[in-house]
């Protein structure tokens, strides 16, 4: 009988020993599935961040290589091919025609607006603005759309 504390403690030890010791395997399976889903998402985000960085770096180089501001927005056929407000980048018309596209959001220095013929004063040239970059099937940038 369990009528005093030593007997009670003995009973509690027996209760602990007789209880199931492990969670069912399905708990582990669900957790592993979630871990893998998170790993995939992490890899995808890492890749996107890398791609954004590469695009931003590429655009910065293009800006640096074309310091002279064009006189205005281009109005040729290549420009009209770019939909949804994207402005074609210099030399983009020398690339193969756009077949499939991907848009990547990046931050660019305000000075890159000069490429589009927008006057930018020296004080604000270093400020960052958000932009969407249109990448072609070859991963090369075709156009840019300024978000801000």
């Amino acid at each position: 009988m369990m009528t005093n504390e030593p007997e009670l403690l003995q009973g509690l030890r027996a209760l602990a020993a007789e209880s199931p010791q492990e969670a069912p395997p399905r708990v582990e399976e669900r957790l592993v599935a979630e871990m893998r889903r998170r790993s995939r998402a992490r890899r995808r985000n890492f890749w996107l961040a890398g791609a954004s960085g590469a695009v931003a770096a590429g655009l910065a180089v293009m800006v640096w290589m074309h310091p002279a501001a064009p006189t205005g927005f281009p109005e040729d056929a290549a420009f009209s091919e770019l939909a949804d407000g994207f402005y074609p980048l210099p030399d983009a018309d020398a690339l193969s025609p756009l077949e499939t596209a991907m848009v990547v959001r990046v931050e660019l220095p305000m000075s890159s607006l000069r490429l589009m013929g927008v006057p930018v004063n020296g004080a604000s040239a270093a400020q960052l603005i958000q932009a969407d970059v249109l990448l072609g099937q070859d991963g090369l940038a075709r156009g840019v759309r300024f978000v801000q």
Partner: protein
Amino acid sequence: MLESPTHSDDDLLRLISAGNEPAFLAFYRRHQGTVYRFALHMSGQTDIAEEVTQDVFMVVMRSAKQYDAGRASITAYLCGVARNFVLRCLERERPYLTVLDDPENEHAEQLSMERNALDELTRHERIESLRKAVLALPPAYREVVVLCDLHELDYADAAGALDCAIGTIRSRLHRARALLLEKMRADERCPV
């Protein structure tokens, strides 16, 4: 696989925060039993114990860096997280559970157990009776019994898990054992 005991919990948690699956598995296999048993003893329901075990290790997966070894042992930390989930589940299922809210009036309550005549009681039935008595304790008393008597945590670890003073653990445990003894004696006097 990282199942070697040479990998400390800190090492595994660091690897888990970097998304290392073998480290997570090793950590899970090392500690899942403790979490599952704690949740089962607290709730008395395997589905809640499963759900809580999964939730606790999701927290580990998401925020392994948050564990502070200086504050509590890993067992105390995991039981503390599990306790919060268990209490949430019990609150959700409150209308369906027979938990005594007032320990002072417990003689007015009878555990709804099916028992045979006294001479047919087996050891298993006595343990089952004790299990039900533990489950009928108010949560504040139940959790100290589960941590200290069933999981054999020391008072400091139990205090870390429940985020209270060691003195509180000691007094609650004393009261909880007294309640259990009263209940067991009452059951033996008038088995239902």
